[in-house]
Symmetry: C2
Subunit: 126 residues, 2 copies
DNA sequence: ATCGTTTATCGTAGATATACGATAATAAAG
DNA sequence: CTTTATTATCGTATATCTACGATAAACGAT
């Protein structure tokens, strides 16, 4: 149903994620850590969102932008995928950057390590 | 409001968690991994549940059972805490074992490492 | 058997999540 | 300026989550 058209414009993949700062966790209070962990965990708490993060984390840096390809890869309506992307942005997993008619999404650089550090500090640290 | 009474009975801390098998992840399909990751993430997606897992993970093995102490530690009604404990059991973070009038909760042994392995495989592995 | 303690479950109300189609907004192409 | 492609947002329906008080169930103590 969805006609695949190739964009005439040469897309510039400018999706450079602001990296997270791991040292920041050391300065966070335990309460803040737990709040943040719950938030990031909510991002991963739906299979479709796990799949999205995987798609983006999987890609080599030069082809990180998938825009509407994410919609095609998932068995969901475009509006539903858009909502999941919004949740992932809000919880801090993704960054989106408008690039012409499409939007370039990528994971926040280092977010996986950030998440795992947060788990360790929140669940057993201090 | 809540009268603290000491149990007359000498409580046996028999809460020995069946450890998770890390090798099992290697045999799981990617789809199964993502499903499982979403499930475990849902467990951590609420600050109260993060706090509960922390409380239990924190404890040395000989005092792992906190039963109603969890209720006292959280600013929630007993029934609400019980519901959170149920979610944590269902998503695979905790085990509960009935021990007389109270219930002995502990984290599933090795669940944190299991979770982190799952993250790696689900988000970047294969 | 009865009482008190502990925990789970029920019923319920309000909030949030999930999914969809329809529509609006943005920008490239013609 | 109009059309087309892409994405976000709106409106809506249904489901799940979260919290609480009330009640039930289990068990030790008396």
């Amino acid at each position: 149903m969805r006609a695949k058209k190739i964009l005439m414009k040469e897309v510039k993949f400018t999706c450079k994620a602001n990296p997270v700062d791991l040292n920041e966790i050391g300065k966070m209070s335990i309460e803040e850590c737990k709040r943040r962990l719950a938030e990031l965990s909510k991002g991963l708490s739906h299979p479709a969102r796990v799949e999205i993060v995987r798609m983006l984390e999987d890609k080599p840096p030069e082809e990180r932008c998938v825009c509407g390809d994410i919609v095609n890869a998932l068995p969901l309506a475009q509006s539903s995928v858009s909502q999941h992307l919004k949740v992932l942005k809000e919880t801090g997993w993704l960054q989106g950057e408008i690039d012409g008619p499409c939007v370039c999404y990528c994971t926040v650089e280092g977010i996986m390590e950030y998440y795992m550090t947060l788990i360790k500090k929140s669940l057993q640290g201090e």
